[in-house]
């Protein structure tokens, strides 16, 4: 049957959005980070169209999207490709096992920081992120910048003025997301 209903699957939203992709590759040619990706955005869209979540999970390409929106701007089909990248990140962070969770660390900790303090506390966020990644070389690579920021009085303990302000909104959003 041509229009049989598919069982619910994590990529269905992405598939619908990408159904008009004609594989022209304008996105790949426009992407400032494509050279660092293990597959081009064009190929990623194809895998998503085919529902090949396993293949997508094995790739790290979408973690390299920096939300510059150049592909979105140039897509001749007018597809919201940057938004799709974010959606793939969400799907893989939930369904993608350990690697997906590790890649999603920064974003998840960012959100925790916002929920707790109301306004992002940059120094605290970076400390938590580097601790969660558990990589001494990564931590070390940020040391020079940390020192520069400290010298300019830009490293500080978290401000608590807005602490807890966002708790009700986060609770409500969780309730709404659990329902959908």
């Amino acid at each position: 049957m041509l229009h049989e209903t598919r069982p619910a699957e994590p990529l269905s939203g992405v598939r619908d959005t990408l159904s008009a992709c004609m594989q022209c590759g304008t996105c790949s040619a426009s992407c400032p980070n494509a050279a660092f990706m293990d597959m081009t955005p064009r190929k990623l869209w194809r895998l998503a169209q085919l529902g090949m979540l396993d293949e997508i999970e094995r790739s790290e390409a979408f973690w390299l999207c920096s939300s510059c929106y150049t592909c979105t701007l140039r897509c001749p089909r007018g597809l919201p490709l940057t938004q799709v990248m974010a959606e793939i990140k969400r799907v893989v962070a939930v369904h993608g096992g350990r690697t997906g969770r590790r890649h999603g660390n920064f974003y998840r900790l960012f959100l925790n920081n916002v929920e707790k303090y109301g306004r992002v506390q940059e120094s605290t966020l970076m400390t938590c992120y580097l601790a969660a990644m558990g990589s001494p070389s990564l931590a070390l690579s940020f040391a020079p910048v940390g020192l520069k920021l400290a010298a300019k009085g830009k490293m500080h303990p978290p401000h608590s003025a807005m602490k807890g302000t966002l708790k009700p909104l986060f609770a409500k959003v969780r309730e709404m997301e659990a329902r959908s």
Partner: protein, 295 residues
């Protein structure tokens, strides 16, 4: 005009000088800023990979506060491009997308707030160019930056995906402002090219390559002018590493309102220039010598 000011989180920490110089310059130009009370994070670009709904609810909360505090048609001014995009996106959806509006308002009901797209969202650059205008800015220039070559850097989210006030591929809006300061515009094609954004935390090699590309293309300029705290941070804090093995020289990196402050003859300390990470003393001396020459 009176603007509802949304500084955003970065401007309270690593980009404090963007806050200082924005307030200083707008006040000098006779504009009023009223900070939105109890504003919270807009979600930056980091929330979308976790929650679609929070990507909308977080900025909507701030617009709802601006509405409650300033009324309909309040102009919300955001200097940070990521804040600007988040606020602008939800503002457009609140007007055009009925389902999204209903969802947002359900989320906002947790704080007895409501929002349906009543305020306007503006970027600092848009306000400088289109509300204040080149003429009024030129009138305040007492310390022309003649002979100083500036590369205007717009970054991404200020004009993409919504090119509200300039071309998203080849932006030019900063050029007339730089010319009003008598500075020379460094012609380059990378004004709208990505700085790597938060890849600096999650994939440094890729972000450093982007920063290197920008710094190399800006060679010949004395400084790069920025209008986003993320761009500023990536360009100023990682120059040594980005240029490792390159013959390119380091550049001074300043926020656009800091350059305006210098051209207005205002104290560089008031504009927070001493808190930038990459402003050479030579560059500052060349800018300041003009003050004494005028005085």
């Amino acid at each position: 005009m009176n603007y509802a000011y949304y500084p955003g989180c970065s401007l309270t920490a690593s980009a404090v000088e963007y806050d200082l110089s924005t307030r200083l310059v707008l006040e000098h130009l006779g504009e009023q800023l009223t900070e939105i009370e109890d504003w919270t994070c807009c979600g930056a670009s980091a929330v979308e990979p976790v929650s679609r709904l929070l990507t909308r609810a977080l900025p909507a909360r701030n617009l709802a506060l601006a509405l409650a505090q300033g009324g309909k048609d309040t102009q919300v001014l955001a200097p940070c491009s990521a804040c600007y995009l988040n606020l602008l996106r939800v503002n457009r959806e609140a007007v055009s997308d009925v389902a999204s509006r209903a969802e947002l308002n359900e989320a906002l009901s947790s704080e007895a707030l409501a929002y349906a797209g009543e305020v306007r969202v503006r970027h600092l650059l848009d306000v400088l160019l289109n509300d204040i205008g080149v003429e009024r800015i030129g009138e305040k220039v007492v310390n022309p930056l003649e002979g100083i070559r500036i590369a205007p850097y717009y970054g991404c989210q200020i004009l993409r995906p919504y090119p509200v006030f300039d071309d998203a591929e080849h932006p030019v809006s900063m050029e007339s402002l730089l010319q009003a300061m008598d500075a020379t515009v460094h012609e380059w094609g990378l004004g709208g090219r990505c700085c790597g954004a938060s890849l600096m935390a999650t994939n440094q090699a890729a972000a450093l390559a982007s920063v290197r590309g920008l710094l190399e293309a800006a060679q010949g300029a004395d400084a790069i002018a920025t209008v986003c705290p993320m761009c500023q941070m990536n360009l100023e804090a990682y120059q040594s590493r980005a240029l490792d093995g390159s013959s390119a020289r380091k550049l001074s990196i300043l926020y656009l309102p800091q350059l305006l402050a210098l051209s207005f003859g205002l104290e560089s300390k008031q504009a927070g220039i001493h808190r930038n990470l990459a402003v050479s003393s030579d560059f500052l001396t060349r800018c300041k010598q003009r003050v004494s020459a005028v005085a």
